[in-house]
Amino acid sequence: MNGNPSSRDSDVTDPDWVDDFLFTGNPADVCFRLPDPVDRGTLHRLVTEAQTHLRAAGLRPGGAVALRLPPSLAYVVHLLATWRSGAQAILLDHRLTDHEVDRALRRLTPQAVVAPVHTGGGALRVFVEVTEGVTPYGDRPAATAHAVIQLSSGSTGPAKVIGRTAADLVAEVRRYTQLDGVALPGERLILLPSMVHVLGLVGGLLYGLHAGVELVPPERLSGAAVLDAIGAADSPATVLGVPFHIGLLAATQLDRPLPMFARMITGGELVPASTVHSFTDRFGVPLGNMYGMTEVGVIGTDLHGQHRPGIIPAPGIDVRAVAGELRVSCPASPYLGHTDPSRWSEGWLHTRDAGTVDPDSGLVTIRGRLDSQVSVGGMKVDLTEVENTVAELPGVAAAVVVWDDGITAYVQPVGTLAEETLDQQLAERLASYKRPRTLRLLEQLPRTTTGKLVRSVETLRTAGTS
């Protein structure tokens, strides 16, 4: 079924890893504060109940469950229940459109889909109150023996499909336990990134459960709510987020001392020096940095903010630069289906990040992307996926999508095409974070003398304003 030689050797059908690795510790220990505490015993009971519902919907060991849930207790419970049922979890960002989800489901053939029937809790929630529904979908086994399947915006197809085994996830959590600067047992992790994506999933949820770190999502996405979450207890608090969250905190008035604030760690793109300074001046705590990818999880860190912009490879991870591109050790291909040798070959993941590895210190410095991938609030978006989607819309003759301080689409219509129609069609096909912030309709897109579309931001800007 796929080109991944080792995927069948994984232990996805052995559900014991959930209890042995994630549910260790005292049942009375608090694992979540929402803000009401949820202890391990309660979580275990909810997971066991969810297993019954999944089974009733047709899930069998070796099957798959698609989770189309926002970050929520329902998501955590059904993720763990899926794994404890010996099944594969397909994680679908709740912002994906029906169009994107249908395409994924047809390919990945889950036996059940879990989606919200009702959500609540107010606007800008980090953790959503969800009443979920479990719907039978198919009766085929999972396409591979991976424990988790994630979609990443892709440059060629609709999306890259990435699989990781239970052993991969356990190994990544163990890497976190060896890092100096992560939240320690008994401490708190103020969790901002979505647990549907790798940073929040492994660095937050799985590490927290394994290590006995309390997971505390702020009541909502605002600087004041994050500070409230930090100040809600005396135990040391580490804030995990993406660069957007640094700006949010730096723009918040600090109205009380927060001696328990230990550190902030962000993944995603590099943070400008001015942002670092405004944050550290205000809070006086280290601002750590992490580098990782959905395919392998955490690759390197600078959790004390001492090596910026460099990072130290995580334990057990080898990084090398080949022809200016960073490659990361990754024994098996993480991709489902045919593996593009320009993405993974012979035990190395080709990151498509430009970078260098210092031969003396081993420090890795990332110097930007070598392809059309951009980061929107920590979410990776491949501009080629956006461009292909725009170009395939009815009424569009040609399109160029570029990054101009935001995703910007230049569109040449076939005849008359209202911007509103274009907006509406895109909203049906692309998740909100992938959609262009700026749309420019041009009678003729700029082309080279040989008729190729011009991609220069400057030229397009000029054409768009003339």
């Binding site: 606007a123 918040t252 609030g377």
Partner: protein, 79 residues
Amino acid sequence: MAGQPDLGRGDLVAMLAQLTHRSTDQPDRIGSMELAWLVHMVEQRYGRRLDLTDDQLAGIRTVDDALVIFQNALAAADG
């Protein structure tokens, strides 16, 4: 000026400029991240929480949409 709904479009554009580090030419369309930023900045400016629902936020697609919702929320809080 705290407590007065004197919020204008130019204020929101200036707030967005702080996020994007662009001085001018802010895009009209705003996504969930920009929206969270604007809510945060308006709340910081007025020192109060905007009482908004998910449905209200979901209906905001542009800076102008956001302005109407924020002005109403501020006026409601004053009332």
